[in-house]
């Protein structure tokens, strides 16, 4: 089965509540949680795929109960301990926190603008040849699971597994999250936007011409 974050198409969630553009954060600790997560990320101990997977690995009951930034903070705490950057005793307050060997990598105020501007591009050169052209018919993996690691990270949602679509755009070659999330290498490969008729994904589509597009890596796809 899938993990709890894979919720596309799920029934029963109720109405969506629009909100004003003036609302950026909903509590005083939200911006702090955001900034702390970005600053911790700049220590270089994990990549974006590792951090997404850490959030996905929250217990389903926590994932459902936690707000957005609670998931972030929980993920950061879990990764810091996993990497040995913070000890469980430091986290629980059972002992005083000791200066870290990574302190030289601390993000300073004057570095923030540059770090945010650089971001983390995911395009990489790759030896994997482009197998599909725009307009080609393809089918996704029947099982939306990581083939390298049991219970591992993947970006093929369950609702789009085993579905037939067409190549809409070619994005070039990008880091493969299924590998990178588990520190198995970036394994870049061709990435495509693939368009699916809503009727291919849903028993009762709202409109016969509606479509869903997903960005999918070449290894998620086969020719049909």
């Amino acid at each position: 089965m899938s993990r709890v974050h894979d919720m596309g198409g799920r029934f029963g969630d109720g109405p969506i509540v629009p909100e004003s553009e003036d609302v950026i954060f909903h509590a005083d600790w939200h911006p702090r949680a955001l900034a702390l997560t970005l600053a911790a990320g700049s220590l270089g101990q994990w990549n974006i795929d590792v951090s997404r997977h850490a959030r996905e690995c929250l217990a389903p009951k926590d994932y459902a109960a936690f707000s957005y930034y609670e998931k972030w903070i929980a993920g950061v705490a879990d990764m810091l301990v996993e990497r040995g950057v913070v000890t469980p005793a430091e986290l629980s307050g059972a002992c005083d926190a000791q200066i870290s060997d990574l302190a030289t990598k601390k993000l300073t105020a004057d570095q923030v603008a540059g770090v945010l501007a650089r971001g983390g591009p995911a395009d990489r050169d790759s030896a994997v040849a482009q197998a599909f052209q725009i307009g080609d018919a393809v089918m996704t993996r029947r099982i939306a699971q990581n083939v390298l690691v049991a219970g591992g990270h993947t970006r093929l949602p369950m609702y789009a597994a085993g579905a037939k679509g067409k190549i809409l755009r070619y994005h070039g070659t990008h880091v493969l999250p299924d590998s990178n999330a588990h520190r198995l290498g970036e394994a870049p490969e061709p990435l495509y936007a693939v368009v699916f008729p809503a009727s291919e994904l849903w028993q009762h589509p709202e409109h016969p011409r509606d479509e869903v597009v997903l960005d999918l890596w070449q290894s998620y796809l086969e020719a049909v």
Partner: protein, 213 residues
Amino acid sequence: MQGNLWFMPHDTHDHDHPHALLPPQPALRVKALETILTQKGLVDPAALDVIIDTYENKIGPRNGAHVVAKAWREPEFLDALRTDADAALLELGYYGRQGEHMVVVENTPQMHNLVVCTLCSCYPWPLLGIPPGWYKSDAYRARVVREPRAVLADFDVRLPDETAVRVWDSTAEVRYLVLPMRPAGTEGWSEQALMDLVSRDSMIGTGVVQVPV
């Protein structure tokens, strides 16, 4: 291809969740983690202040509105966006974290575009800032791929039958900005006047741009 479970690397995350060692109340949890990381020399609170100031005051949906208004007024800029959005946006100074690979999708009378990230909450930060609460909600992530028109109704948007909906589920590091349709009666308007019409929601696809009556 099915791996043999006995020989596969296994995910260890499920067994151990150290975050439970922190105080349960979220505000206290964040404060505790910041204090620990500051004591360890890993976090500079002044850097956190700069990050917060950036997303509270410098980066937000007015960036995206600028792009939309410029694309409406300048055909050569629209062409540049279609050809290589990253290059066109770089010239305007809109680039960086969570906007490294941009694609602009254009609404037409035949096609309305909507953006979501069902697996997390990917969003074009350099152009729209921090995503709104509803964009990150379970309800939006779960519903919009399956029933986009019902979701649009929650935003008081109703599309004509001749308009198909295309929902973009941002599953990779590519970020999407919707270019809404320019409303009739705005010919000759200044860039600023057009920008003022463009809502954040219209650039996600949960809104349309209208001239106030």
